[in-house]
Amino acid sequence: MTSEEAPGPRDIAVVAFAQTDHRRSTAESSEVEMLMPVLHDVLDRTGLRTSDIGFTCSGSSDYLAGRAFSFTLALDGVGAWPPISESHVEMDGAWALYEAWTKLLTGDADTALVYSYGKCSPGSVRDVLTRQLDPYYVAPLWPDAIALAALQAQALIDAGHTDEPALAAVAARSRSDAAANPHAQLAGRVPQGDYVVRPLRTGDCPPVGDGAAAVILAAGERARRLCERPAWIRGIDHRIEAHGLGVRDLTDSPSTRLAAERAGAFERPVDTAELHAPFSAQEVVLRRALRLDDTVRVNPSGGALAANPVMAAGLVRIGEAAARIHRGASDRALAHATSGPCLQQNLVAVLEGDPR
């Protein structure tokens, strides 16, 4: 191929989004029984059937429910026979979306189904997440997810970036906004409660729950046919920091800033930001890293403090940002997803709607 013939990058958009109601327990459903209605919902929104989808990518973790190869069973809900072009990441679905976006960029597919699910209710997610830590120096101490987030919160307080009343305000605003989100697990007036691991109180921590989400991506004209106002992905990037907690500056998120830069987030202001901040103090870190001022509507969905189905909560951020563009409530939105302890790894996507 000569350079004259080289095509420019394809425009790829989120054209549909669906999610479950997120709940403390879905013991009456298996993973696939919980997920399937969401897959049907997202396909119905575009009129596509499984056989129309060029690439399918999912994100989940077997450790959450303690069920080996649950992601292969979940594929039953897609209708994966005869075999489809499919992939899975043992990560939040936001990273599955990244893989699908890459696949569409290559031109190998024009449409992609991305889904993820998390069933936190069978186990203790606080303890389950210790198994992702450094197995030599950290995991043997069993520092749970809330303890690590609390170390980060204290570092922020010591640095003068926040205090307990400011954290309580983040929590209250999130749950108050979530009152308008029918899928949220925790909404309305929620007491800050007692310390779980000081300085974090119950209110600073996400609810533990189960849920699933799905997104459909489409390229170019296909996207315009499937959606009245596609949410075009203008840029998307993800970056990771050192795994040693004591090597990092926990009050900052250089990986978020770099991902945002690469995704083009700083080229023009966004009107909306859906941030994946499971703990109140992490919103403080992200707002600073992303230079979000008071003109930006942050987490109108209520964010992860209102519903945190682990492995799906990041994809939900992208879906919520896209849905606001679909319905004309936003023109340019930033969506963020995180993975690992204390915002170790971060993904930033910038979405835009066509001018109105």
């Binding site: 039953d76 069978p122 186990g123 203790s124 101490l141 303890a147 090597v247």
Partner: protein
């Protein structure tokens, strides 16, 4: 909501991991009550030490001893210790920058209460009585108001360095199998095998998982299948499984129960292992106190014709 079946599920596993030269020196050092860091090419000392520079990814091997005293860089008060954590009384999680180090180590601080802890406070290592070359050789940190301890000038070379760690892990769950599998298990308790039919392609799945993998739609219509079935394919097991009281060799087979469109698998008994064949007709054998057939045995019927089960292979 219908009655939901649930059962305790324990996932327990020892992670056995080998160590690189830097990790080995650090953990062996803990056993010998020596604290080692590693020097990066730009002159910083990382504790705990790693094999590769976290910024440049360069291989780093230059070991340097640091002191067992240090400064808290951040902390969090844990009033309710959890299983496996360093102390079973309330303690502070701390990141500690040891004297001589540029980075901080995560551990526990034994302190009387949150009012006794602050960022910047001085602490020292409390060694575990028994040490094996693991991060838990540091029992915890404790408050300390003396001088910074001096390193002994250790080279980081040890006679009998540890080469690996075994890290036990245990996670406890309360597992629920969901709607379709709960129905299946309830029927088994009555010694019936009940599958579910796909509303779209009409296939009957046993055991049912709640969705048709071909059509991607929910299954719901119960269909009792069997009890008899046909061996579609099999293998001969020659290695005795741990904790399994079955003599080898024995036959493990795929069995298409009459009326089912998916074969399930089970052991075949009541026939010498070398006489089991494709098409053999079998029926379940239930034993007292079990919740599923112990095995399947020949019915004595003529073998099924290949055409009757070839689609189920």
């Amino acid at each position: 909501m219908p009655d939901v079946l649930s059962a305790p599920l324990v996932v327990e596993f020892p992670f056995t991991r080998s160590l690189g030269p830097v990790q080995s020196a650090f953990l062996t050092g803990l056993r010998e009550r020596v604290l080692l860091g590693v020097r990066t090419n730009d002159g910083r000392t990382l504790v705990p030490p790693v094999e590769y520079d976290p910024v440049t990814a360069e291989e780093i091997r230059d070991l340097v001893e640091v002191a067992p005293t240090g400064t808290v860089t951040t902390w969090a008060w844990n009033h309710a210790p959890r299983r496996g954590q360093p102390l079973d009384t309330p303690f502070a999680w701390v990141l500690v920058r040891l004297d001589g180090a540029d980075t901080a180590l995560l551990h526990a601080l034994d302190a009387p209460g949150p009012d006794a802890v602050h960022t910047g406070m001085r602490v020292r290592v409390r060694w575990a009585a028994e040490r094996s070359g693991a991060i838990t050789d540091i029992a915890c940190f404790e408050p300390y108001d003396g001088e910074a301890a001096r390193p002994t000038g250790h080279s980081g070379a040890f006679a009998d360095a540890v080469s690996g760690v075994v890290v036990p892990a245990r996670l406890d769950y309360t597992y629920s199998p969901g709607r379709a599998q709960s129905d299946y298990i309830r029927a088994l308790a009555e010694r019936r095998t009940v599958g579910e039919r796909c509303p779209s392609c009409r296939k009957v799945y046993v055991p049912p998982r709640g969705a048709c993998p071909t059509c991607g739609v929910a299954t719901a219509e119960h269909v009792e299948v069997g009890p008899r079935g046909t061996v579609t394919t099999f293998c001969i097991v020659n290695i005795k499984a741990k904790n399994l009281d079955i003599e080898v060799p024995y036959v493990y087979a795929h069995i298409a129960l009459d009326g089912a469109d998916l074969a399930l698998h089970a052991r075949i008994g009541g026939i010498p292992y070398d006489q089991v064949r494709m098409g053999l007709r079998v029926e379940p054998v239930w034993t007292e106190g079990t919740r599923h057939p112990d095995h399947y045995r020949p019915t004595g019927e003529p073998d099924a014709a290949y055409d009757t089960y070839k689609e189920l292979l």
